[in-house]
């Protein structure tokens, strides 16, 4: 098929865990004839859904990595990124949204807007991704799509407007009425593949009229033609569709579709909606920065004849070797092209260009502007920009959160050691929120990430994909240290033993600062410290921020001001001043009343009201501050801020105290000063560990 940019859609499917994203994707692929049979997540046939191709995902019934795939629907080419629904894998969602032009927000008609939907929505807003909503599971008991629409408006501030209404609900859910074409749609055949168009049932007519009027009202804000037609009382579907499209592109309207992916109902009209309302790559403005021109922003044009600018948004090490998922914003990539990695400046020759369909692939000659595909054998990190050799554009970097939890891992044998290194190398390239380092004191390998489950999944992947069996230690929380009061210093570093001497004096004060990790200010006048040594003083202080004296965690929120000092014409050097700065900080740190900061997580528990008391009790026991409780229909939401250190094993306890009926999500909120008793315990423990290690050594 000849690529037509106006008929290309790059979309993501995001939602709360278990809202049915993967099932929906599976149905989309089936109706687009990319797959020829349907396998369900956790299906009885043991095959699993096509998009969840990692063994582990199949087992857990969750989608870990966003598998990219493409399909065609009514002459349109749709690239789909299936994204994970668990907060721990948020970086995956963020990356997907960065490269997408539009999104489908899947919501459960029973559960409604849940906490993860709120997180995903915030991310969509950050990247200004227009979206359509799909209210899934309309066949489930308790289904109420209109309540979900209300929640979309109230909780997410979307101007959510139904473009369909359901014909029956729960067990009687039969199909949908399309409010644009004013037809009732039923889905026949074994897999709902035959769509039967009929007249709207008479008993639904009142509701249809009311909802259509709402739709026209909302859409007419974006089209004068529609406004005119509405005043004349004759609205044509074409004009209405165009108005909805314009509203959606501006994120002024969120068209809402309904159905049940599992029961094969309502998926094809959603696909029509994707092609009609979501933007094509040319509709979306993208910018890069020109590295050679003072990082001036450059508007990118979706034109294959322009110089290449493409983003590597995901890496995978699969059966075909290293695979780099790439989105081409401008220009094109063909087999044999030489492209440049803007970060490293390295030139790369493109070997194979392919288009992925979950774990299968299709070779291509060329990836045109606006499309998503994959390259083989290209060495790069996730988030790198590739461009033509004649330009040095870089796409703005993606927002990457700092990891909040660490785990020590020890390989079980020598073979595992080698495989573990390979695995860690791969994972850190694939996922910027996954970090690894070797503790210089214990020589243990430490992995860090966004949550317990995030790390668990990587440990499991190490074992399965790389055959690296590792033993894990207790998860370690990423504490920080800070100072709480201002204190002055005046330190002289003097060394006269053997060789050339070292001399440097620094004086000034240290004070707490909010919202910054480290601030350095020089108020030196009259050359008390020669200008050439001031950067060395800053470096000296900065090196002290890496490890605090209390627990050995990084120090944040420190402002250092130097206002006096002394140098020696022969013995002063950069090294001497850096040493003086280190000495000064060592001396002053304890005087500044250092404190320990602990990561606080925002936890939202969703529970039936009868367990509300128990849920609050559990959070309270874990030093949580309950911000509030919210009652909504049959569910109750408890929002709290809880120290991460107290959240280990919470899911098990929550399950057992609520008969498995409650679920929770958590995400990093902020760092907060740990209570004195907790800080004392931590310091005591750290001192004991240090002592034990010294004994062993």
């Amino acid at each position: 098929m000849k690529p037509d940019i106006h008929k290309t859609r790059n979309i993501g499917i995001s939602a709360h865990i278990d809202a049915g994203k993967t099932t929906l994707t599976e149905r989309i692929l089936f109706y687009c004839q990319r797959i020829h049979s349907i396998h369900d997540v956790k299906g009885k046939d043991g095959v699993g859904a096509t998009m969840d191709f990692m063994e582990l995902e199949k087992e857990r019934g969750i989608t870990i990595a966003s598998a990219a795939t493409y399909c065609t629907w009514k002459n349109h080419e749709i690239n789909i990124i299936d994204t994970p629904g668990h907060v721990d894998f948020t970086i995956e969602v963020e990356r997907s949204l960065r490269v997408l032009d539009g999104g489908i927000l899947v919501l459960c008609s029973v559960g409604g807007v849940q906490s993860q939907s709120i997180t995903v929505d915030r991310q969509m807003a950050r990247y200004k991704v227009p979206a359509v909503a799909f209210i899934n599971k309309c066949d489930r008991s308790g289904a109420d799509p209109f309540r979900v629409i209300r929640q979309l408006r109230e909780k997410l501030s979307h101007n959510a407007i139904a473009v369909q209404i359901p014909i029956g609900l729960e067990a009687n859910f039969n199909g949908v009425v399309d409010l644009v074409t004013m037809k009732a749609l039923y889905f026949d055949g074994d897999s709902g593949e035959k769509i039967r168009e009929e007249e709207i049932p008479a008993d639904l007519m009142d509701m249809v009229e009311e909802r259509r009027e709402e739709l026209i009202d909302a859409a007419s804000m974006y089209s004068d033609d529609l406004m005119e037609q509405a005043l004349e009382g004759e609205v044509t579907p074409e004009v209405l569709m165009e108005a909805i499209r314009l509203g959606t592109l501006e994120r002024g309207i969120t068209p809402v579709f309904m159905g049940s992916a599992y029961k094969n109902k309502g998926v094809q009209p959603l696909l029509d909606g994707v092609t009609k309302y979501l933007p094509n790559p040319a509709d979306v403005a993208n910018t890069a920065v020109d590295l050679e021109n003072n990082e001036e922003p450059v508007d990118l044009v979706t034109d294959s004849s322009k110089p290449l600018t493409a983003l590597a948004f995901k890496l995978e090490d699969g059966r075909y070797g290293q695979l780099t998922y790439i989105r081409v914003y401008q220009g094109s990539i063909s087999k044999g092209d030489t492209i440049v990695n803007a970060r490293t400046g390295k030139k790369v020759k493109v070997g194979r260009v392919a288009r992925m369909h979950a774990d299968q692939m299709e070779d291509l000659d060329k990836l045109a502007a606006g499309t998503i595909g994959a390259l083989f054998g290209v060495d790069c990190a996730s988030g790198d920009t590739f461009c033509s050799p004649d330009v040095t554009y870089s796409l703005t970097s993606m927002h990457v959160p700092e990891p909040v939890i660490s785990l020590a891992i020890v390989p079980e044998d020598n073979k595992a050691q080698i495989n573990m290194s390979k695995a860690l190398n791969r994972f850190t390239k694939e996922d910027p929120t996954f970090r690894t380092k070797v503790d210089p004191e214990t020589s243990e390998t430490i992995i860090s990430g966004m949550g317990e489950l995030h790390l668990e999944v990587y440990v499991e992947r190490m074992r399965r994909e790389y055959g690296a069996a590792v033993t894990t230690g207790n998860p370690q929380v990423a504490y920080r240290e800070t100072i709480t009061q201002m204190s002055e210093f005046n330190y002289t570093h003097k060394k006269q033993t053997g060789g050339s001497g070292q001399y440097g004096r620094v004086a000034g004060y240290v004070e707490p600062v909010q919202g910054e990790d480290f601030v350095f200010e020089s108020k030196i006048v009259g050359g008390a410290i020669p200008t050439q040594y001031i950067p060395a003083v800053e470096k000296g202080f900065q090196s002290c921020m890496e490890k605090g004296a209390l627990l050995g965690f990084p120090i944040t929120g420190v402002k250092i001001v130097i206002n006096d000092g002394q140098s020696h014409s022969v013995d002063s050097s950069e090294m001497a001043f850096a040493a003086a700065a280190r000495g000064a900080f060592r001396e002053v740190y304890n005087k500044c009343k250092p404190a320990i900061l602990e990561p606080i997580m925002k936890v939202e528990v969703e529970t039936p009201p009868e367990f509300q008391g128990a849920v609050m009790g559990l959070l309270n026991q874990r030093r949580g501050i309950i911000l509030g409780t919210q009652e909504q229909d049959t569910l109750c939401f408890v929002e709290a801020e809880v120290p991460l250190a107290e959240m280990f094993g919470y899911s098990t306890v929550l399950r057992s105290s609520t008969q498995g009926k409650a679920q929770f999500t958590m995400e990093f909120a902020s760092y907060r000063k740990a209570p004195q008793s907790v800080a004392d315990d931590l310091i005591e423990k750290a001192a004991k560990e240090k002592k034990d290690k010294a004994k062993v050594a």
Binding site: E154, K155, Q485, M486, E488, A507, G508, Y509, Q514, V561, N563, D564, Q612, G613, M616, G617, N620, I625, I626, L627, G628, T629, Q630, E631, Q632, D633, F637, E639, E641, R672, K673
Partner: protein, 272 residues
Amino acid sequence: MSPDTEPIRLARKFSRGAELQSGAGRVIYLRERSLSMLKKEIVLKNPLRLIGGEAGHILPKGGFGAVLARAGVGKTAVLVQIALDSLLRETNVLHISLDQPVSKVCLWYEEVFNHVGKHYQLNNTVDLWDAILPHRFIMTFNTEGFSIPRLEERITDLTEQGIFYPQVVLVDGLSFDQEVRELLNEMKLVARENELKVWFAVRIHREDISEEKPVPDNFMNVADLFDAALQLSPQGPQVMVNPIKTPGELDESISLYLDPASLLIKDGQPGE
């Protein structure tokens, strides 16, 4: 001295002190003052104290207060300021909202608190915020799902486990357009039994008030249950805060208004 001049004077002293930081004279920094001092200072400067007499507590235990205004005039902002005043006195506040989710109520607090921080030129707001947060609890209900037995049940959940003991309760979003006397009577019993001070936001309608009848009927019908009431009346671009009922004698000379930019209550005449 107006409450505004004191922090400005201290801030000036502070900025001069920063220049003299090393050696010479030791300056008492504003930021180094203890949290409790800071709390006391803000409480003392709160214009609401003008209504509450010396101790600054407007309501007696078991008493009811009301904030009356038309939609969008600033009822929630005033309620949140009453709450912040209590929180700074280390009094536990239960904020019940019948029309806004927890996140929105939280935003109100953050917003008002930030304005207070700016107004008093506070530097260590993070510590202060962390200190008052455990004293606040937000509960939201669907309007139709709210009833006093249900509220009692929720409060018992909290107190029995030692999670939270409310002392001041704010009810935002309760409709006074329908018959509420019975509900208020039930609430009064709960308030007396638990020694709670309860504030309600009362929404009034433009057509229900006139020059002859400044207080609407929907409130007058239940006014006997209330010990204090503040009415917010827009006058041109300004919103005046008129105490229409106070526990003691009503002091006619008190003049309070809402700053249109920050929605903070200030005393004096607008523009002074």
